[in-house]
Amino acid sequence: MTRAVIAGGAETRFSRTSDLADLQFMAQAIRLALEETGISKADVDGIAFCANVLPDDSSYMAEHLGFSVRWTMKADYGGASSVLSVARAVEAVEAGRAEVVVCVGGGNRFDFTDLHHDAVSPPIDYAHRSFVLPYGYGGPNMQMALLQRRHMELYGTTLEQLGKIATTFRRHAQLNDNALLRGDMTLQDYLDSPLIADPIRKFDCVMRCAGAVAVIVTSEEYAKRLAKPPVYIGAYQEQHSFGANDMSPDKLETGFVAFRDKLFERIPREEMDFLQLYDDYPIAIVAQLEDLGFCKRGEGGKFIEDTDISIWGDLPINTSGGILSIGQPRLGGGYIPLIEAMRQVRGEAGPRQIKDAKTGLVSGIGLMSYLSNLVITCGMIVGKEPFE
């Protein structure tokens, strides 16, 4: 059977503002990823776009960028789109539908309307249209606030514990010259940052930015011809709309519980040299650590307090600064954990390099449900050596 691998990937410079349109950013990221891997554009026979707000269909986008391909898709899975697009590309390569698939996402901020030719945001889903937005509710800040409130009330999770996540990632970002937020952040700075939707404060919130990231998936055979070593995929799982049919779902239980046993069946948690988790909010990290089984339910705050999650610690998390300190280039944000995992196992992380990093976990989370929490959750174990 053909085995698919991650041949490489690259990101553009990230910025707060830019004159580039979404497809120009994505083209730039693809070009950088092709250069990084040494792959010729003519060899690309599959392309996945994480671009839910672009009205163009995926095959039209392929046409705009001059890709004549055997396989395309548009990933509309919120923040999980990036990791999910890679998983879909792996399936395509392993099924023989394509051999070299570019997965790309990102763009400019959607509030810059002059850069878009048509609708700049997707049509609003039914529940949001009539039962969420009319209250002035909606958007991740408030949704995460409802979750964090309950976590703090039920389990005694503290702002100090959550602040440790934000400040540790900031220290990591200071070693990443493409992170947009690199100023010193003390715990006091975190606590003093203004309330947005209590208990969520400014330094809990991911910052939108402009930029794009591309990752290339190929067959192992194809990757062997390239200069750089591939990254292997050991396990992958995803869950959609967990608890969707419960009319009073537990707000603190996420879809990760549905697949954690399968995800770590062959490669146990203890073998993870690092975690690169989608981090739009510190409370999302706590929820993931609990539901992925790194600690018990309700003990995520204490786990953070007792664990050195820095690059130099017991369980390094988000070693490039996370999107909390790097910025969130639209749906390309989800590739940031994957790109950092790739650099860590290749030994290319420079001052952020974890000693002997061989295996790690990458996660994706996306969209927020009416009553529960994350609509999409996914996890991918990646490594330096082939997994048997």
Binding site: R129, V132, M142, L146, A197, A244, M247, L371
Partner: protein, 136 residues
């Protein structure tokens, strides 16, 4: 973007009609007995179409809440701060809403008892359920 208001669709017409009369209601499936909110095109348990709206008590308790200081949409900035509540209704289903009166917000905690009131929104033809605190 103008301020978002609810838009009636074929399967939620009676929810808004009931709301106009000051009645909070949810869909009951006649095939399997399930009670559900938000309104859905079919019963999301058995996919049956025999669903009708049933009046609810309008009472419940705070499951979670947040006081919004920086709204996502600029159209709501003038109203901030305001408090969004995730309500566990006495019937066992949850309902997202907002406090009708910000004077209920100070000291609000999980488990506090709430009851429904309606406020006209948009052009005034739609009535949206809000909640107020039940005083002991």
């Amino acid at each position: 973007m103008t301020r978002p208001t609810p838009k009636t669709v074929p399967w939620d017409r009676d929810f808004w009609a009931n709301a106009e009369r000051g009645v909070l209601s949810a869909q009951r499936c006649d095939d399997c007995g399930r009670l559900q909110h938000y309104p859905k095109p079919v019963c999301s348990e058995c996919l049956g179409a025999n669903i009708r709206f049933e009046a609810l008590s309008g009472r419940g308790e705070v499951y979670s809440f947040t006081t919004v200081r920086r709204p996502e949409l600029p159209e709501f900035e003038a109203e901030a701060p305001y408090t969004v509540v995730d309500v566990l209704l006495d019937e066992g289903i949850r309902f997202l809403s907002r406090l009708a009166d910000e004077q209920d917000a100070p000291g609000l905690k999980l488990g506090d008892k709430l009851t429904t009131v309606f406020k006209p929104v948009g052009d005034g033809t739609k009535h949206l359920p809000y909640f107020v605190k039940v005083r002991d």
